[in-house]
Structure formats: structure tokens, C-alpha cells
Amino acid sequence: MSEKKTILIVEDEELMLTPLAEKLKNQGFEVVKAHDGAEGLEKALKLHPDIVILDIVMPKMDGMTVMKKIREDQKWGKDAPIVMLTNLNDPDKVSEAANYNVFDFLVKTDWKLDEVVDFIKQKLEMGFINFSA
């Protein structure tokens, strides 16, 4: 069997983090948690996970800044798979994220837990299309 894929979840709300992390672990993924933007950025740049799931409204550093800083990393970060998972249903933020080659913007209240897990699995299996190439 191939090596376990690593998923980094950056989410300040522990109550949201736990069920999502548990579900993903049950699916056989290696899950790393970060509880604020700064911790998320540090872990992302150090671990180079297979996918980063990013909340937006977080202490220390917001998710949009984390996403932009990850993209500044020319080796891994510029093409790193990122999924925004937030309750900030703001189409302006969706457009802003698209400018950084982030096209997956999920609003938590619109998605069931199982649907989020299936979406992440699909993304990891199918791979990400790199529009910036």
C-alpha cells in the first residue's frame, strides 16, 4: 500500500476540527491539526502536506493571509493543494482566492461532514489541476 497521505487542517474551532479530523483519520489519512493561522502556516511550510484545509476567520493570522504566504513559497507552496473551508460566505473572498489558484471554497453550513470527507478524498485521488502552469 502506498504511503499515507497527509492532511493539514487549520481550524481554530476545536468543535469543528475534531469530527472532521476523526472522519479523515478513519479513512486512513494522516491528519495534522493547527489551531490558528500562524501555527498553520508554520506546519504547512515545514511538513508540506498533500492538502491544506484552511478556515478563514482565525486568530493570529487569517486564512486568506496563510493562503497567500503559502503561495509565496516557490518550491512547494506555489502549487500546493489548498481547500478553503469556512463560514464566511463571501463571494469577494472566493474571487480573491481564485486569483491565487485556489478554486475550492466550501461553506461549512452547506456541506455535510461526509460530503466534505468525500470531496477531500476525491481531490487527493484525482489530483489538483494547476491553472497557473
Binding site: 469530527p19 463560514n87 460566505n89 463571501d90 463571494p91 469577494d92 461553506v107 453550513t109 455535510k112 461532514l113
Partner: protein, 388 residues
């Protein structure tokens, strides 16, 4: 009879005033001098010569005075007109201490006070508007977070990930999940209403195939259509692409079509008719539903209102949909209206055109009119988000 109104310019007013002053001063001065000369016993020729000279001198003197007077009056009039037009930045030049000078000073003071007041009002209005927008954004995010926590944990429990549950437990948890979904829908709807009321939502038109939007809106409710064995009839005239905001158009059609579907009983029919006239694309969505009670019809487009029979028939619903559609249509240059009862589909289905009196009170037709030239664009900071 219509009264005629003559418009007299400020220039005419000022000039006629100065002319009158000129004549009055010259004539009075001449009369006084002629009277004095007559009393002193001068000859008529001498009197005419002296009187004529004095009249001429008086005329030129008073002409100069009145010209200056009329110019200053004109300046004052102009300044007041500028104020009325909302231009509060100009000031009068004040070089004298006479009555007109005092009047000019008073007008300048008034302009300054108005300017300061308006500036304070505008900045206060901006502050309040910004505070409201911030509140709505923060509140919507803060409300959604606990709602999504509840959603995910219920989902976690229902799927059996936290341990096996029996059928009864699953039923109760599913009910709790549905209740939470209604709350989510309400929060999304309220957020849209706030954006409408604050005027912060944008309209971004682009060429749109409206037939596709109507088809998509119907597809979204295909489960309910199948479950309730509803017949959807379409009578669609070919339409050119229209410049519409796709999101707003979709929201509008979804709300109207979902209402027809929700309030039409099992086995009923919904007909969507699209045609065009010279200037507008016209839509008519008719159902065989419960209709809207006459006494409640005036309230149908108000916020959070749900007709009594609709509430009895379908407990789920926020009462925000039609308010949102009406606001969107009006701000985009379109129109929405309805007719109820509208039993035409029931009559169509009944070959001998004979339906009982109760059925004659059923059915509703909603009409939408969208200008073919498209929606008027409107810049804004937010987009509407609610989808049923």
C-alpha cells in the same frame, strides 16, 4: 382649469427693482428742486434749464447707485440658488457694512452652517451604514459557526461514526438535523435581506440563457417533483440571451418555482410559460396549489410573512423568498406580480370546464417581467447568497 405659471429670472427681478428705484429717486429729486426754484421766483426757461440739468445729473447718479445695488442683489440671489442646488462651498464677497453687506454676511454664515451640518450628516450616515454592514457580516459568520458545529455532530451521530444507534434514535436525530437546516436557511435569508436593505448587494449583468436557468431551477427540486408526482409543463418561446446577473436570476426563479412546488398538492401541475414582447421577457408560473387567501394578499411581499394556509401545508419556509425576489426585480429594472385564485390549469385539465366551487379558489400565477435590454448594473460590496 390649469393655471399658467410664468418663470421670471432673478436677473429680471433685480433689474426691474433697480429701474423703479432709479425713476423714483430721479423724479423725487427733480420735483423737490423745481418746487424750491418756483418758490424763489425764477423764470420758466430758467426753471426748465436748471430742472433738466438736475434731472440728468440725478439720473446718472442714481443709475450708478442702482447698478451697484442690482449687481449685489444678483450675487445674493445666485448664492441662494447655489445653496438650494446643494452647492455649499461658494461664499459671497462682503466689502460693505450696509444692509446688503449684512444680508450677504448672514447668507455666508447660513451656508457655512449648512455645509458643516451636511458634512456631519453624510459622515454619520456612512458610519452607521458601515456599522450595520459589519454587524451583518460578523453576525452571519458567528451564527453559522455554531450551526455548522451542530450540523456536523448530528451528521457524525446519524452516520453511526460515534457508535451504533437504533432506528428511533436515528429518527429523532434526523429531526434535529432538519431543524438545524431550517435555521441555516433562515440565517442565509436574513443575511440577504440585510444586504438588500443596506443596498450593499451588487448586480453584475452578463449574457444569460434564461431557459437554462429555469431548467436548472426545476432540476434542483426534482426529488420533490417525483415524490409528489407533480407534472411540470413548459411553454417556452425562443429567447435571445439577455444581460442578467445569473446569480440573482437563479435566486429569483428558484424562489418562485420552489413556492409553486411546495404549495401544490400531490398529483398537481405547474406550468412555466415564457414569451417576449417588444421590450420585455415575460414569465408566468402557474400552479394548482392552495392559492393565497385574498385578505392576506397585500402582505405577500413583506418580510417574514407566510400565508396561513401555506404555514399549515408546509411548516418549512422563512417568509423571506418573495421579499427577496421583489427587491431584486425592482432594483434590476424588472417587475413581479401575481394573481390568485388562478384555476386555469384545473380548467384546462378538465375537459368539460366544470370544476367545483372550492377548486375555483385554487391556483396562483406569478408573473415576472424582465427588460430585454437586461438588468441595470449596480455596484455593491456584497452578493446575495441564499439558495433554497
Amino acid at each position: 382649469m390649469k393655471k399658467k405659471r410664468f418663470k421670471i429670472s432673478h436677473k429680471e427681478v433685480a433689474m426691474s427693482l433697480s429701474d423703479k428705484i432709479l425713476i423714483i429717486i430721479s423724479s423725487s429729486l427733480t420735483l423737490v428742486v423745481v418746487g424750491v426754484v418756483l418758490l424763489a421766483g425764477f423764470e420758466v426757461e430758467q426753471i426748465l434749464l436748471v430742472g433738466g440739468s438736475i434731472y440728468t445729473l440725478g439720473f446718472f447718479l442714481t443709475f450708478g447707485v442702482s447698478r451697484s445695488f442690482s449687481r449685489r442683489m444678483l450675487d445674493l440671489t445666485r448664492q441662494i440658488e447655489e445653496m438650494a442646488a446643494g452647492n455649499l462651498s461658494t461664499r459671497l464677497q462682503v466689502n460693505s457694512r450696509d444692509e446688503i453687506g449684512q444680508l450677504a454676511r448672514a447668507v455666508n454664515d447660513l451656508t457655512k452652517k449648512l455645509e458643516t451640518g451636511v458634512a456631519v450628516d453624510v459622515s454619520r450616515h456612512k458610519e452607521i451604514s458601515q456599522a450595520k454592514t459589519d454587524f451583518v457580516n460578523i453576525a452571519s459568520h458567528q451564527l453559522r459557526t455554531p450551526l455548522s458545529i451542530i450540523k456536523w455532530y448530528l451528521d457524525y451521530l446519524i452516520s453511526g461514526d460515534a457508535g451504533e444507534i437504533n432506528d428511533e434514535q436515528k429518527k429523532y436525530l434526523t429531526e434535529a438535523y432538519r431543524g438545524n437546516e431550517r435555521l441555516i436557511e433562515l440565517v442565509n435569508g436574513l443575511l440577504d435581506v440585510s444586504r438588500i436593505d443596506l443596498g450593499t448587494f451588487s448586480i453584475e449583468p452578463e449574457p444569460v440563457d434564461i431557459t437554462e436557468i429555469v431548467d436548472r431551477a426545476c432540476d434542483k427540486f426534482s426529488n420533490l417533483i417525483i415524490k409528489n408526482r407533480l407534472t411540470i409543463k413548459k411553454e417556452i418561446e425562443k429567447m435571445p440571451k439577455i444581460n442578467l446577473d445569473p446569480r440573482l436570476t437563479e435566486i429569483s426563479f428558484e424562489h418562485i418555482i420552489s413556492n409553486s412546488i411546495k404549495y401544490t398538492p400531490v398529483g398537481g401541475t405547474i406550468k412555466i410559460k415564457m414569451k417576449r414582447d417588444k421590450e420585455n421577457a415575460l414569465f408566468k408560473i402557474t400552479d394548482t396549489g392552495c392559492g393565497i387567501p385574498e385578505e392576506q394578499q397585500p402582505k405577500i411581499f413583506t418580510k417574514l410573512f407566510r400565508a396561513e394556509n401555506a404555514r399549515k401545508m408546509e411548516s418549512v419556509g422563512t417568509g423571506l423568498g418573495l421579499y427577496i425576489v421583489k427587491a431584486v426585480m425592482e432594483k434590476a429594472g424588472g417587475k413581479i406580480w401575481f394573481k390568485s385564485p388562478s384555476p386555469e390549469l384545473l380548467l384546462e385539465e378538465n375537459e368539460d370546464q366544470n370544476i367545483d366551487n372550492k377548486d375555483k379558489l385554487r391556483g396562483t400565477s406569478f408573473y415576472l417581467s424582465i427588460p430585454l435590454k437586461g438588468m441595470k448594473g449596480k455596484s455593491g460590496t456584497k452578493k446575495l447568497t441564499s439558495f433554497k
